[in-house]
């Protein structure tokens, strides 16, 4: 089998490596810093009080969920175009991580919504389109995990992945027009319009870094796991060919 991989990472022999250990440590440190700034040092919001602290996880998670989706679509495109197994695994890994982060956005948002809006859920544009995003991702994963041959699953999943971002955009657009209740997409207006500044802005910044590191760490590990599985299969392939030929020679 020829595997053209636009291989930037060397073939890993375990999911961990020095690089990921550093990222892991940095992620832990930044999470600690996030806890410190987010929970202790940053002031409660003028209008929303303590609950505003969810923001520091909520918003970065959403951003990285989107990044995961883009990676999935891009990886799928590269797979279909260049036959790159490497990119296929990137697409799969990031879809899984994006699903997790979308779920985090939903959960944190709902926890936040309860004190803010009095309910866990409203049928607002952003919320609804996030829910649809989760469902689109679940659709991709359902195809990728089909009980069928590897090639069948990856190729079909890639087409779903390719359509992921366009679909998300169309869904968002339509839901946007449909109704809007959620925060306007601006970092500066929050809740009832209070500005984010000073320590709050800094905490959010740390949130982005921390969540970003976690995202990266998870992605690399998930990718490497998939890659190693692939390698095992690949190595198995030579053995399988040898066995099969032996079977023929024996008869």
């Amino acid at each position: 089998m020829t595997t053209q991989s636009s291989n930037t990472l060397a073939v890993p022999d375990s999911t961990g490596s020095r690089g990921t250990r550093i990222i892991g440590v940095l992620a832990l440190l930044s999470m600690a810093a996030l806890a410190l700034f987010g929970l202790v040092l940053s002031p409660p919001d003028a209008s929303q009080g303590e609950v505003v602290r969810i923001l520091y996880v909520h918003v970065p998670s959403a951003t990285f969920a989107y990044i995961g989706c883009f990676l999935t679509t891009f990886g799928s495109a590269m797979y279909l175009w260049r036959r790159s197994r490497w990119w296929e695994l990137v697409a799969y890994a990031s879809a899984e991580i994006a699903t997790v982060f979308t779920a985090i956005v939903l959960v944190t948002g709902m926890i936040w919504g309860r004190p803010t809006w009095g309910v866990y859920w409203v049928w607002d544009a952003r919320l609804t389109s996030t829910a649809m995003l989760l469902l689109l991702l679940l659709g991709y994963l359902a195809v990728r995990r089909l009980p069928a041959d590897h090639e069948v699953r990856t190729r079909r999943a890639a087409i779903v992945g390719l359509l992921l971002v366009p679909n998300v955009m169309i869904v968002r657009q339509s839901v946007q027009w449909w109704r809007t209740l959620h925060q306007k997409p601006t970092l500066l207006a929050n809740g009832v319009g209070a500005k984010i500044e000073g320590l709050m802005l800094f905490s959010l910044f740390i949130g982005f870094i921390a969540i970003g590191l976690v995202f990266t760490w998870l992605l690399i590990h998930r990718f490497r796991l998939a890659w190693l599985e692939d390698q095992v299969d690949e190595a198995g392939l030579d053995v399988a060919i040898a066995e099969r030929r032996a079977e023929g020679a024996a008869s």
Partner: protein
Amino acid sequence: MVRLRGAVALLGRFPALAGVDLDVEPRRVVLLRGANGAGKTTLLRTLAGLVAVANGEATVLGVDLVADRKLVRHRVGLLGHATGLYDDLTVGDNVRFWGRAAGAETDDVEHALTRLGLDGRLRSVAVSRLSAGQRRRTSLACLIARRPELWLLDEPHAGLDQDGRDLVDALVREATAAGATVILSSHELDRSLQLADEVITIAGGIVTRDESSGAS
């Protein structure tokens, strides 16, 4: 016509073909023999451009299968284990549909139906109501309506009665006479050894014996 060198074909992750070398000259009748699971069906499907060649070289009818295996498809005719017929359409409709899809004229279709003895009552019977052998005949009619250059017959005698078997042999001889090449797999050696110019034995996804002299 056909030239394979170390051709590997994967079904899922299983190397159904594990490095096949094969040369077939035009207008020959080649018999593939081998145990169940040896890889005969996979080889025929690979030659038809349906299964990807994962490794090695493969040229069929001048088309490089590694580069673009789609180009060979409309020039071959494959009679497989599965028929791919539309169960709810009649025999006539099925042959007409698959024939026209491959660019056949009405005459070709009629000729195919007549040849296979499907022009009587059976013509307007839905495929779902056919007996096993009748279904197989319909599938064969679809094949000859296409007038392929390369015939790939996977156990063509199976399920057919004595007349049907004779008919298959006659069709194969006519095809080679008209310039086509025929590769067939079979477990029915008596009949097919007589038909074949060459006999290739497959086992474990490789060619283990190549008798280009023929056994007839």
